[in-house]
């Protein structure tokens, strides 16, 4: 192979279009005659719907349709429970429109379609809904209290699920342990907040019986299958496309958001295209959120600082519904052991309903919580035994020769939590060098003499990535030589058009720019799962690799026939197919594609040239002999990992705290990341940067505040603060590469990694900066006022 593209920092083919304003986001698609929808949402966190009178709204000029639950007929069904689990004994999912009761502020109650969005929103004002407000559960403490009001009248104790896992024999170990500590730690809600809100455009073509939906989603294929079932259409008569998607971070992997059913319902009913675009206020109250957990943790360690057992009991806030089952708390439970040799572990969680926006995974998906708990434990052991914080971690790390390491838990995919590879000490050593860790105490001491509070914090994590069940891919060379690749995942900024092209180009002897990728379009590839759980690059990337390997083999076979040579003597390089040692006589890939098609006529320049070349004629016998497979230079392959592969990393930061205001600023931030073999280091580093920024937001700025009425009181960008360029520091990134033995190219996932250790290291650094005060952070997220309050609490209690 002339050039290997895998591993190179190839510039993105996505960029020129996006930079010119020629992106194709859902709201950019303008079909003639499109009508526009708006959703009437519940103003109450819990209420009985006494009456809905849509009458006046229907009379407003320009209004085409006003739908309430009773207008939906057979479509009025709860959304499917995506991932059932035996421990989830009381699952509840949402109706497309609320029928008798609403369970959170923002729940959809009515749907209006009008000439434009302005008129649709006018019509919302004219729908008269009479509510009888009911008691509200707005936090975990109230949800779990004795005789608490019920979020769902038929779910006793508000308990959706209760799940226990045990590894080893924690009871015996606790009974004999020299040191035991109990602590309570909490993590409050945040949200993904992609810059593009959700949206859908639906078109019904009656003459074809064809429904097409463009949706800002991370999982178009499952949605296609679901819509076909809901509307009783053959699957091939429903096309779902995820066009350019302006960020997702987990909140867009969901089926179904109500609008994804209501919009096609209206389009079919009206026979016209209908578009619904979520606004930011709606995004705050109707797009899924995450993070809320309350942990009571107990841990035992020996005199050397070795953690010997953990008991963690936690409550998980799932909001009003469980569309995603109990995936998030399972990931928390399985991620807690992290990179450490924890052999005795009791994990128990209870999933509680609250009258809040439903919960589904948001970048990190239960992991930042787990890492926060475990890294707080490591810091506390260090403090109690007066051992350096990095040294404590080193004493507990799983060693490189101990892989595969079976944690002993069942992971979110139903498979084992079995670490495939890793080298945690190598990462920590790199990080210490990047931060000049050993010299920090001197720097800290000097700063203190000048009245400045500097602190250093570290956070280690292991992340289950690349879960199954599978993805597939098609690679096809057309007669003009263009190579089309397709897969069922989507990109929301992960650069698949570039990185997947690198994988295919390596097999076909081409440049990445020669490979044209289509993804997230059920008409291009109709099997697949979606982009979530840091899985797309590994799982779909491996499928693309396998398909490209097959196309390469087929090209060799076809060319071998034409050149009367052996297939193993054929090479592909620089867009040419030729016999090794005789590169002057070559075919283009397009010519091989033409020859791979037994049809006896072809068109275009490649075909004309092919006619003039003196090549062997067709072999006798059938045109497609056994073993030759289908016609064309094309292959479809699937990749199904045996279980998750486990990426890892360690981040560290030096911060400065102003004890007078509680404000924290970053002096330095470093990240060492191991996602196995890296396809494109520029892209991976970009993913880490973005993850860290979201992590900093989630550690210090972003906290959704629900009041006792279940209203989010900071539901705007004026009040819920996303970090800006002024708050996010420069981040130095380095890599450790321990290839995954599970996938053919050795990759592991990278998308979520950046966000995961940030709350942990932030707490670690604040504790360190304020160590003269004796502060220990046990909650996330913080914000300046809260840091100030915590300091005041300590000062008044001492």
């Amino acid at each position: 192979m002339a050039t290997r593209w895998f591993g190179a920092p190839v510039q993105r083919s996505e960029d020129p279009r996006l930079l010119r304003g020629k992106g194709n986001f859902v709201d950019d698609i303008d079909l003639p005659g499109t009508l526009h929808a708006a959703v009437l949402r519940s103003p109450h966190a819990r209420a009985r719907i006494v009456n809905i009178d849509p009458g006046p709204a229907r009379e407003l000029p320009g209004v085409h349709l006003v739908i309430t639950a009773t207008d939906l007929g057979g479509v009025l069904e709860p959304s499917p429970l995506l991932i059932p689990h035996p421990a989830l004994t009381e699952p509840r999912t949402q109706l497309p429109l609320a029928l008798n009761e609403v369970h959170y502020v923002g729940e959809a109650v009515a749907f209006v379609v009008a000439d434009d969005r302005y008129i649709a929103e006018d019509a919302l004002e004219l729908i008269d809904v009479e509510y009888e407000p009911l008691p509200v559960i707005h936090n975990l403490a109230i949800a779990s209290a004795n005789n608490a009001p019920l979020v769902h009248a038929d779910v006793p104790g508000n308990i959706a699920a209760h799940f226990v896992q045990t590894v080893g024999d924690p009871d015996t170990v606790f009974a004999n342990a020299p040191h035991i500590i109990h602590e309570t730690m909490s993590i409050e809600r945040g949200a993904a907040m992609p810059m593009e809100c959700r949206g859908i455009l639906a078109r019904w073509e009656a003459h074809e019986g064809m429904l097409t939906c463009w949706i800002s989603t991370q999982g178009p294929i499952p949605i296609r299958n679901g819509l076909a079932a809901i509307f009783h259409l053959p699957e091939h008569k429903v096309r779902v496309v995820a066009p350019d998607v302006g960020g997702g971070f987990g909140t867009k992997i969901m089926m179904f958001y109500p609008e994804e059913i209501l919009t096609p319902f209206a389009a079919i009913r009206l026979g016209k295209p209908v578009k619904w675009i979520e606004d930011r206020r709606e995004n705050f109250i109707s797009s899924n959120q995450e993070r809320g957990q309350l942990h009571k943790v107990e841990y035992a360690f020996d005199d050397q600082g070795v953690l010997v057992a953990v008991r963690d009991k936690f409550l998980h806030d799932t909001g009003a519904y469980t569309p995603y089952g109990i995936i998030v708390p399972i990931i928390t439970a399985c991620s807690l052991p992290g990179p450490y040799r924890l052999k005795h572990y009791y994990s128990e969680f209870t999933v509680l309903y609250t009258n809040k926006v439903p919960v589904s995974p948001y970048r990190g998906a239960g992991r930042p919580h787990a890492v926060f708990i475990m890294e707080r434990i490591m810091d506390r052991i260090a403090k109690e035994l007066k051992i350096d914080r990095c040294e404590v971690r080193s004493r507990n790390f799983i060693q490189p020769d101990e892989f595969p390491w079976d944690v002993g838990l069942v992971y979110q995919d139903g498979g084992p939590t079995k670490y495939d590879s890793g080298n945690y000490q190598a990462g920590l050593d790199k990080l210490k060098a990047m931060l000049d860790y050993d010299n920090f105490p001197k720097l800290q001491g000097e700063a203190r003499q000048h009245g400045r509070s500097l602190g250093i914090g570290i956070g280690c994590y292991v992340e289950g990535t690349s879960i199954g069940p599978y993805e597939g891919a098609n690679v096809r060379v057309e007669s003009d030589g263009r190579v089309f690749a397709a897969t069922g995942v989507t990109s929301q900024g992960q650069s698949h058009a570039t990185t997947f092209a690198q994988i295919v180009a390596d097999q076909l002897g081409l440049s990445p720019g020669d490979i044209l990728l289509t993804e997230g379009d059920s008409q291009a590839f109709n099997w697949g799962v979606g982009s979530f759980a840091s899985r797309a690059a590994t799982v779909a990337g491996s499928a693309l690799h396998l398909a490209a390997v097959k196309v390469r083999a087929k090209a060799k076979q076809v060319a071998a026939d034409l050149f009367e040579a052996a297939p193993e003597d054929i090479e592909l390089a620089d867009g040419r197919v030729f016999v090794k040692d005789a590169p002057h006589r070559f075919l283009t890939l397009g010519q091989v594609a033409i020859s791979a098609n037994p049809l006896r006529y072809a068109y275009g320049e490649n075909a004309r040239q092919l006619m003039s070349m003196k090549l062997a004629g067709p072999r006798p016998g059938p045109a497609l002999p056994p073993g030759r497979g289908a016609p064309g230079l094309e292959a479809t392959e699937f990749y199904s990992p045996s279980h998750a592969s486990f990426a890892s990393g360690v981040h560290g930061a030096i911060i400065e705290v102003d004890p007078k205001t509680g404000m924290v600023s970053f002096v330095k931030y470093a990240a060492v990341h191991d996602c196995g073999r890296v396809i494109n280091p520029m892209v991976v580093e970009g993913q880490v940067h973005g993850g860290v920024a979201q992590g900093i937001g989630g550690a210090f700025f972003e906290r959704l505040v629900y009041n006792e009425d279940g209203q989010i009181v900071n539901a705007s960008f004026m009040d819920y603060l996303l970090p800006t360029s002024a708050e996010i520091p420069s981040i130095t990134v380095d890599h450790v590469e321990t290839p995954s033995p599970l996938s053919p190219l050795g990759m592991k996932g990278a998308g979520e990694a950046g966000v995961i250790p940030v709350p942990a290291l932030f707490a670690s650094a604040i504790d360190d900066a304020l160590s003269p005060y004796g502060l220990r952070v046990l909650e996330m997220p913080l914000y300046p006022c809260r840091v100030y309050e915590l300091l005041k609490e300590i000062q008044s209690s001492s």
């Binding site: 960029d15 930079l19 950019d28 302005y118 992609p194 810059m195 960020g247 960008f717 996010i728 981040i731």
Partner: protein, 174 residues
């Protein structure tokens, strides 16, 4: 039940004349139509994105008489008689990207690309005011544009590179 509003004024339209990316448009628009909606839905210049509709995220940033403004905080009728530049007007008619756009590609200053047009417009205005911004100035000036993907680092690097190249090209012109 609340009183029904008189909706007749909502359909009131005004004739406006605006120059966008060098083209003069004379059009009747509803008085309540946002400038961002006018650009996107009436002129089909969909590169200007809408991320919050309350003036914080900066996705809808355009140049109004040369200054960066948020098109979601203005009505189309308020732009009457004014000169606008949107992202579609940045690269010119030839195939080459504007140096700011080029720098964003080279430094991987975008991921999903949704906030990018607004950021490019802000950077354009920033570099017009200050051809040699320090990193601190760049970060301060960019703080009116939210990006959820990149962590801003590569955007800052792209601005530095673009500033350097623009200074070089101005020298050559002189």
């Amino acid at each position: 039940m609340q009183e029904q509003e008189d909706t007749s004024t909502f359909s009131e339209e005004n004739l406006i004349s605006v120059t966008v990316n060098g083209h003069l448009y004379e059009q009747r628009v509803p008085v309540r139509m946002l400038l961002s909606d006018f650009l996107r839905h009436e002129l089909h210049l969909t590169g200007t994105h809408v991320g919050c509709e309350h003036g914080v995220c900066g996705c809808c940033t355009v140049l109004l008489n040369g200054e960066a403004v948020r098109s979601c905080l203005m009505l189309a009728v308020q732009a009457d008689g004014m000169v606008l530049t949107t992202i579609e007007g940045m690269a010119g008619t030839n195939s080459e990207l504007h140096p700011i756009q080029q720098a964003f590609q080279e430094k991987h200053g975008l991921q999903c690309g949704f906030c990018t047009p607004g950021i490019i417009m802000s950077v354009h205005a920033m570099l017009h005011e200050n051809a040699s911004p320090s990193e601190e100035e760049i970060r301060h000036e960019l703080s009116g544009n939210l990006c959820r993907c990149t962590g801003y680092q590569n955007i800052v690097e792209a601005v530095k590179l673009a500033a350097e190249r623009l200074r070089e090209s101005h020298k050559e012109v002189k």
